[in-house]
């Protein structure tokens, strides 16, 4: 009530104060005055109404930002624990392959059951894309760990469909399952090649040349396939730099294989990477 009268007052004041208005204009304004009052009632013109509107915006933003924080936390958990899986797989050698991979598999499962499930609960509906920046690093790390594990287990690439199938049982049947999207999968694959490079160098030191060669072949294949896919990606800028790094990894592996091939019995592992330095494979004893 009070609001209506004060705004009516303002309307009248405007009519009185408005410079250079001809009489017919004043008449126009008087006529539209009623409409405008109605409009005002509808559009919440007063300070308190503005505050009401903004309190809904405040609620929306608070809830959304809190959700975003939870997603970031889940993503960090996934990242940390996936990294542990990767380090676990790196401990592989020809003697302990089974136990190492068994533990890695269990740890990977734990990442799914605990942290991924948490992420899933938050990302329903359109939040999947809206919050992508918040969880993408975690998902990429997970893809890296899962594909690394799978390769060491079976020598094959864990496809996106395969990964997503393992995620389906996690969610409540009533909820949408969290399915990793193409972009995060590809970004994770790019990081996989770096880990494979480390493994290849390490395996060469251990004498597992064929394993290293398999890795070489595999990484080449991935790099080649990705070459055509990368330009069409949403974030092709990030991916382009990853492709350069990937190529460097491929070359490092190839150089290592070359060294093995050329030097044969005097083989000494390459410097310049962070593989464990178990030296001199079958050093020739000079007689």
């Amino acid at each position: 009530m009070l609001s209506c009268s004060s705004s009516a007052f303002q309307r009248v004041a405007f009519m009185l104060m408005a410079p250079k208005l001809k009489p017919q204009r004043l008449h126009q304004i008087a006529e539209t005055g009623v409409e405008q009052l109605v409009k005002k009632a509808r559009t919440m013109s007063t300070e308190s109404s503005m505050k009401d509107a903004f309190s809904t915006y405040a609620d929306y933003l608070n809830n959304f930002n809190e959700k975003r924080e939870r997603v970031v936390k889940a993503s960090r958990d996934i990242t940390m624990n996936s990294k542990k899986v990767i380090f676990q797989v790196h401990r592989l050698s020809k003697d302990n392959k089974e136990e190492v991979l068994e533990k890695a598999g269990k740890d990977l499962e734990a990442v799914r059951d605990q942290h991924f499930a948490q992420l899933m609960r938050e990302l329903q509906g359109t939040d999947f894309w809206k919050l992508r920046r918040a969880y993408s690093p975690g998902v990429q790390e997970y893809v890296e760990a899962a594909t690394f594990y799978k390769f060491c287990l079976s020598g094959t690439l864990c496809t996106l469909d395969e990964i997503n199938t393992t995620l389906v049982p996690l969610s409540d049947p009533s909820l949408e399952p969290l399915q990793i999207n193409i972009l995060d999968y590809i970004l994770g694959l790019a990081d996989l090649t770096g880990e494979l490079m480390r493994m290849a160098i390490g395996r060469i030191s251990d004498g597992e040349i064929e394993f290293a060669q398999r890795i070489c072949q595999f990484v080449r294949q991935i790099h080649r396939e990705l070459m055509l896919v990368v330009p069409k990606m949403d974030d092709s800028y990030d991916m382009k730099s990853k492709m350069e790094v990937m190529l460097q990894s491929v070359i490092k592996i190839e150089n290592a294989c070359f060294s093995v091939h050329v030097r044969g019995s005097e083989y000494i592992p390459l410097l310049g990477d962070d593989a464990p330095t178990s030296y001199l494979l079958g050093a020739a004893v000079v007689e």
Binding site: S6, A13, F14, M17, A18, P19, Q36, K40, T43, M44, S45, E47, A53, F54, S55, A58, Y60, L61, N62, N65, G125, T126, W129, K130, C152, L153, S154, G155, T156, L157, T159, L160, D161, I182, G207, E208, I209, E210, F211, Q213, Q217, R220, Q221, R224, E225, L226, M227, L228, V229, K232, M233, D234, L247, I251, E254, H261, V262, G264, G282, A284
Partner: protein, 296 residues
């Protein structure tokens, strides 16, 4: 798979002592179609150059190696990716086309709206601008149609129309304020553009950012109105902007673009207050007006 590799270890280790060309085992792993096996063995660095030519889509040679089945499923997956990503790239092209139309309509509206700084009567200016709003509604409708092809992915492409939408909101809000002296709220803004929050809505943050942009224009408007002799304008704008700023302070913002824009609002308010003060101390505001001041 791995067992065969491990079986070979002993065999390979013995070979190391007496290196022979690895040709047989390497061929097992390398693509049969690729012709430069010998190059690879002798000089890995040359391999770098030989990778690209074979990969153009028109003569893309799929790889068939010892792990036949494996390679195929891997290739299929990437082929699939290519197709999907091409589709999304095509969609993005369509979106860009519509967004460019939105942008040019916005520019036309802006060219109209700035006439208020030259004291063109408001109803006339708004009438013309409203014609263009009809166009905008059409364009947003088209965007909504395009996005129906990929349900749920509004936010995947949202960045492509984010800044244009913020500009549109700021114009709509300014027009609304010129007409009614009040704030255009989120739901009304959505309605004006023919959007609905279920399918293709107006993002709350875009709305809020648009409102901040509107506030950025108010100081200039006030200055020009006073020059034109409208001494009541500063008070109205000041009250409005004070309320708006107070309402905005209710929000908990992150340190993002919206926050920056909100921060600039206080400078707009300061400027308007200065103009109001200038007008007041020079007694340009008449007595009748001062009565009303007491009420608001």
């Amino acid at each position: 798979m791995m067992n065969s590799a491990f079986r070979n270890v002993h065999f390979t280790a013995s070979r190391l002592i007496n290196p022979k060309p690895f040709s047989s085992s390497i061929l097992h792993f390398l693509p049969l179609c690729s012709g430069d096996v010998s190059h690879r063995r002798s000089n890995p660095l040359r391999h770098r150059n030989s990778v690209s030519p074979s990969s153009f889509s028109s003569f893309y040679i799929p790889m068939a190696g010892g792990d036949g089945q494996v390679s195929l499923s891997l290739e299929k997956q990437f082929e699939n990716f290519r197709v999907q990503l091409e589709e999304s790239a095509a969609l993005r092209e369509q979106i860009r086309a519509v967004v460019m139309e939105i942008e040019s309509a916005t520019r036309l509206i802006q060219a109209n709206l700035v006439l208020v700084h030259q004291s063109r009567p408001i109803p006339e200016v708004i009438e013309k601008a409203k014609e263009k709003i009809v166009d905008l509604k059409k364009f947003y409708g088209r965007l909504a149609e395009i996005l129906q092809k990929c349900p749920g992915q509004y936010y995947r492409y949202h960045g492509d129309w984010r800044s244009e939408t913020q500009a549109v909101v700021s114009q709509l809000a300014f027009m609304h304020w010129l007409e009614t002296g009040t704030l255009l709220v989120h739901t009304e803004a959505e309605e004006k553009l023919g959007l609905n929050s279920l399918e293709f809505g107006l993002e709350t943050e875009d709305y809020l950012t648009g409102i901040c942009f509107m506030s950025n224009d108010l100081p200039r408007y006030v200055v020009n109105r006073v020059t034109a002799g409208d001494y009541d304008c500063p008070r109205k704008v000041m009250n409005f902007l004070t309320d708006l700023h107070a309402a905005f302070r209710m929000l908990n913002l992150r340190n993002d673009f919206l926050r920056k824009k909100f921060d600039s609002m206080k400078y707009d308010l300061r400027r308007v207050e200065e103009v109001y003060y200038d007008v007041k101390i020079r007694g340009l505001i008449s007595a009748g007006d001062q009565e009303i001041q007491g009420q608001s």
